[in-house]
């Protein structure tokens, strides 16, 4: 187990750090530390000679040979000094130890100065080795080695004693690494003496359980929310359908009024044409030619009335068929329905087509939008006339293409939209009409059709005399819309 502890992955970093610290110490110690010690050794020799030189000088000067011998012998006792040569006028001395031939010797020469006459009286040569340095280096290396061994033992014992806790920590780390919010996790089960680590494991288990609970709650909330959204969408769709139906009902009412206007003239003509037929027949003045002429008048007017009914029926056709159509034709048909009303209200209109364009959409839906815009324009003009602000109404419908968009502008001289409500006129149930004619859903339906179904935009701007409603529908994405429709 101890061996395992020493080669464990965790301990690898310890040994790595240990070696990274100790190897440079050893290398630098070998190079620089020895150099420093060598210098220090030389300084010691110099210091020793400087200290002993006066004593040597006095001994020589006072002919104290015995004391000189003792002094030199004491110097030789110093571990690194291997040999001493003294050369003076009166003495020649050579003291030496048993010199190890493997030792590298350094030589240091020093002049002994007479303390009285200040002249050189002797020369002393010290032969010294670095035995002391070697011993110190050896001691340092031995110390490092023992520290190394000591650290090894201490670390092995510590690791052995905390291995259970370390394994527990590993298990926790593994569990945390494997943890996923979408994965069902087993609780961390530990056999651990450490209260702290047990606490960590316990808290981790609780935390994972809490997260799982929260995740389930969140999923439940999401499902509920999804159901609510779907319900709301259905409600909204139902509401929209209802509003569109209401809008159609309103449009039908208006169209019936238009048809009434349209039919008044042909009915008068038919009435006049058929009024005297019976009398003339009884009087015998109705010849065949005259009868045919009157029948021709009746037939033409009935045909006109029939066409009007067809237009009405087409407009109310609930079929949603995507097709290419010319918006000018659609606008003309709507104007055909409203023509009589406009004439009755003294409103002139014109269609200006700058570019020939084709929309790919449900034609009746665009017609419904155009009908709403033209009806509103008529109502605004009528109101202005009632206020005697204008005497005659003008409506201009422009069709053009710009930057890949088909643009239809419906402009009138009905006084425009008040700036304070310009941002709310497209809201549902918002109306400026004081009488029962206004439902407040026309512009909302129009905007909804253009933006949701035709993927275009409907906006309004005021002009000097009235307002302009602008429809913009992209032309280049028709194929995409076709695919979506399928």
């Amino acid at each position: 187990m101890i061996f395992r502890a020493l080669i464990d992955k965790f301990t690898f970093y310890f040994w790595l750090i240990f070696l990274v610290i100790n190897v440079p110490i050893y290398i630098f110690g070998s190079i620089y530390f020895q150099e420093i010690l060598k210098k220090s050794e030389q300084e010691k020799i110099v210091l020793m000679m400087t200290t002993l030189e006066p004593a040597i000088a006095f001994n020589i000067s006072f002919d104290q040979e015995d004391q000189l011998n003792e002094l030199l012998a004491s110097m030789l006792k110093y571990e690194d000094i291997q040999k001493i040569d003294l050369d003076s006028l009166d003495y020649k001395k050579n003291l030496s130890k048993q010199i190890d031939p493997t030792l590298k010797l350094f030589k240091y020469e020093y002049s002994i100065i007479d303390p009285f006459e200040k002249t050189e009286i002797a020369k002393i040569t010290l032969h010294y080795s670095n035995t002391n340095l070697k011993n110190i280096t050896q001691q340092i290396l031995t110390t490092i080695f023992f520290i190394f061994i000591f650290a090894l033992i201490v670390f092995a014992i510590i690791f052995y004693s905390i291995r259970t806790d370390l394994n527990a920590l590993k298990a926790i780390a593994h569990a945390m690494r494997e943890y996923s919010i979408t994965k069902k996790m087993n609780a961390i089960s530990l056999v651990c003496k450490s209260e702290e680590i047990s606490t960590i494991a316990k808290v981790t288990n609780e935390m994972m359980q809490n997260i799982s609970d929260y995740f389930l709650q969140l999923q439940s909330f999401n499902n509920e929310l999804k159901e609510q959204v779907e319900l709301e969408v259905l409600k909204q769709q139902k509401q929209e359908r209802l509003m569109i139906h209401q809008s159609r009902q309103a449009a039908m009412g208006e169209m019936l009024e238009s048809i009434a206007h349209q039919w008044r003239q042909p009915l008068n003509i038919i009435g006049l044409a058929t009024a005297n037929i019976e009398t003339e027949y009884k009087l015998g003045v109705l010849n065949e030619k005259k009868f045919d002429a009157k029948m021709e008048i009746v037939s033409l007017n009935l045909q006109y009335m029939s066409n009007t009914i067809d237009d009405f029926r087409n407009f109310l056709n609930p079929e949603r068929k995507l097709e290419y159509f010319n918006p000018r034709k659609s606008i003309a048909e709507i104007l055909g329905v409203l023509d009589a009303q406009y004439a009755n209200s003294n409103i002139h209109f014109e269609i200006l087509q700058e570019s020939k364009i084709a929309f790919y959409a449900v034609e009746n839906e665009l017609k419904q939008v155009i009908f709403i815009l033209l009806s509103n324009a008529k109502d605004a003009i009528v109101l202005q006339k009632q206020k005697q602000k204008i005497s005659q109404g003008f409506i201009t419908i422009s069709i053009k293409e710009k930057s890949g968009e088909g643009i239809i502008e419906v402009c009138d001289n009905g006084g425009g939209v008040d700036e304070s409500i310009v941002n709310t006129i497209f809201d549902p149930y918002f109306t400026t009409k004081s009488n029962a004619n206004g439902t407040g859903i026309g512009l909302y339906i129009a905007k909804n059709i253009i933006e949701s179904r035709m993927r275009g935009s409907l906006s309004v701007k005021n002009t000097q005399t009235g307002s302009c409603f602008i429809i913009k529908v992209a032309l280049e994405n028709l194929e995409i819309k076709e695919n979506e429709a399928e």
Partner: protein, 177 residues
Amino acid sequence: MIQRLLFAFLILSALLHAKEYDETVMDIEAKLFPKIAILEEKIAQNPSPYLSITILYKEADYAVAERFKQKIESTYPKKIRDKNVRVNLAQFGLSHITDTDALLVLAHEAEELETIALWANKNKILTFAYEPASLEYGLVSSIYIGRTTKPYLNAKAIKKYDFVFDSYLLQLSKFKE
């Protein structure tokens, strides 16, 4: 004839009273006494350019004193620690001895030696004795000749009269307690 006999008697008498001086000892002392003198603090600090040594002798030792003087002067023909060595001769009487750093006392009677030592020590004049035994009477320094030759210092006199010697000299000297 009587005059000749008287002269011969006087010479013989003088010779009989004269002490015998060893040449080797004289050489050693001539070499060491100036060195010991210059290692005494008061002498070393004396601004005088001379190391003045007076040899105190009795009439019978005049020739010895002369020879001593020659030995010292020949040993130190040049300066010793920036001082020239100047040697004078003087007979016992002391009153005429002035301006000297040290006295080299040759053979004298015991009382005379005591008088010399007392006078010299009181005047802080270093005294050297040819005979080491003369330190018994209060002289300060001599040369000990035994197995080895060492400066011989009178410890009592040094302490009593505050003579201060260089520590290296003290290390290699023998002391008379």
